[in-house]
């Protein structure tokens, strides 16, 4: 479904991604794990068109999407839940969800999908008229995910959904990720919480200082000594 071939991404002269290649197949959950500053968010931003790779290609559903504008990437079915949620704080929960459906024209099914999001995250339904900046961190994460789902993505990019959340909420969110995946959305999940991520993923990549250093099935990586030492040991 998604194929990243040898991309290099720079911030000025900081070389943030070095010759990165990954692949995500239809209906998989693929996770990308790595330490702070490894380049995980950079990769997601490049996939969603916020950054442009200097070299290499990104093909999605056999179309080249590197260098395309973010809005046309969203339109083609990739939704990105950014690190730190980035909900529109001065707008209500419902307005945030409506913005998630910005490119859609089917008003009636947008209403239905908002109702579906409230079913998936009942707390959001209760808070629908509340300013989203006043939601708790967990609620904001749910809102950010609901907002991304409003675009009806085929591929969902999640950037550290567990960040700063209590274990119970993390568990809940990961269950929802699995549920969304079972309903047919492919997921690329960026995480530092390697344990959790590997437990729900099919395949995984490990990134270190801008380079993919390891890849395999989630099971293989869970058992790899290298991963255990670097990412699972501390947990």
């Amino acid at each position: 479904m998604l194929k990243v071939n040898n991309i290099d991404v720079f911030y000025g002269n900081i070389h943030a991604l070095k010759d990165v290649s990954i692949e995500v197949k239809e209906s998989e959950i693929v996770t990308l794990i790595g330490a702070n500053g490894a380049g995980k968010s950079t990769l997601l931003k490049t996939l969603s068109g916020l950054l442009k790779p200097k070299s290499g290609t990104i093909s999605y559903l056999s179309q080249q999407i590197n260098g395309k504008q973010a809005q046309s990437i969203v339109k083609s079915g990739i939704s990105h839940v950014p690190e730190g949620r980035r909900v529109f704080s001065n707008m209500t929960v419902e307005e945030n969800l409506e913005l998630g459906a910005y490119l859609r024209k089917d008003r009636d099914s947008i209403k239905k999908d908002i109702a579906n999001v409230y079913e998936l995250f009942p707390i959001l339904g209760e808070r629908r008229k509340q300013q989203s900046g006043t939601l708790s961190g967990g609620e904001q994460q749910m809102l950010a995910m609901g907002r991304a789902l409003m675009a009806k993505p085929k591929l969902l990019l999640l950037d550290e959904p567990s960040m700063g959340l209590a274990p119970l909420i993390v568990k809940q969110i990961f269950e929802i990720i699995q549920m969304v995946n079972q309903q047919g959305t492919t997921v690329l999940l960026v995480e530092q919480n390697a344990n959790m991520a590997l437990s729900i993923a099919d395949r995984a990549y490990v990134i270190e200082t801008g380079k993919i250093v390891l890849s395999g099935t989630a099971k293989e990586l869970q058992e790899s000594e290298q991963v255990k030492a670097a990412y699972l040991g501390a947990l």
């Binding site: 969603s48 504008q69 973010a70 969203v74 990105h80 950014p82 529109f88 001065n90 707008m91």
Partner: protein
């Protein structure tokens, strides 16, 4: 009952400031630029209205609409030509460019038609209306009504329409807005269009009210509208409306007490006070600047 007439005058002047201030505040909200050319769009609006009335023989309302449409286009051209390429430049570079655009508009206007003033034709009925024994000029009331309608329209656009929601989203977080599929460039252009249209409307209203327009007429009202926007909390739409009205009333009160020479100074004293006492403005949030 003299003071009621004064109050109405103050509100009329204030609503002109408010209309201009809205453009300042909306543009600041979305790209953090103080568009110093905005007062000159107001001037162009006044002249467009003047030409529409004198050459095409139209009434006040059609002139208002023609001016709004053309100013919207002018605003978008200014943004696309001068500001767009400076999005990632320093603030000061953009600010200096804005001042440059302002001079360019003023002196291009003077180059083509000279600096002499023009007398606006009488397009509004100038009678006195008796309300509870107070006579109030019909002009003031009409201006007030037009302003209120425009402000309601603006609130509707900003809060209920798709483009309005996109404008709010982009001003809160441009990258997150991109991830929703919002075209940020178009949204910024739309903001310039709407802000400039309001300035154009203010220009025609100003002409109809004060009956004298000239190429540098945008300088002082532009500055005062900027002060009104700061007073209300720059970036805040209701704040700009209230800031404009407050400024207009204060000015009129200062003149009414016989200090008419201090009228213009009053605005700047307000600016200094607000910057000392509450830099975020009456309605501003005390948030730190995003980096």
């Amino acid at each position: 009952m003299e003071w009621i007439q004064q109050l109405v005058n103050g509100i009329s002047v204030g609503s002109i400031y408010a209309l201009i201030a809205l453009g300042y505040t909306m543009v600041y909200g979305i790209i953090k630029l103080i568009n110093f050319a905005h007062g000159d769009v107001f001037m162009l609006g006044a002249f467009i209205g003047f030409f529409a009335i004198t050459r095409w023989d139209v009434g006040f309302l059609p002139a208002l609409i023609i001016s709004m449409v053309l100013c919207a286009i002018i605003g978008v051209i200014i943004e696309r030509v001068a500001y767009k390429r400076l999005r990632s430049a320093t603030r000061i570079a953009a600010l200096i460019t804005a001042i440059g655009v302002s001079f360019l508009i003023e002196y291009t206007m003077i180059f083509f038609r000279g600096a002499s003033p023009e007398a606006y034709p009488e397009v509004l009925p100038n009678t006195s209306i008796d309300i509870f024994g107070v006579s109030i000029s019909s002009k003031s009331i009409l201006i007030l009504v037009v302003t209120i309608i425009l402000m309601i329209l603006l609130q509707f656009i900003v809060h209920k329409t798709k483009i309005g929601k996109a404008m709010r989203a982009v001003s809160l977080d441009a990258d997150a807005a991109r991830l929703m599929g919002i075209n940020v460039d178009n949204t910024i252009s739309a903001t310039f269009a709407i802000g400039s249209a309001l300035a154009g409307a203010a220009g025609v209203i100003f002409g109809a009210y004060y009956t004298r327009i000239e190429p540098l007429m945008g300088v002082l009202p532009g500055l005062k509208a900027f002060i009104a926007a700061v007073l209300g909390g720059i970036g805040n739409i209701p704040g700009a409306m209230v800031g404009g009205l407050v400024l207009g009333v204060v000015e009129t009160v200062v003149s009414a007490f016989g200090f008419s020479l201090w009228r213009d100074a009053a605005a700047f004293i307000i600016l200094i006070l607000i910057l000392i006492l509450k830099p975020s403005g009456l309605f501003g949030k005390n948030t730190r600047e995003k980096v």
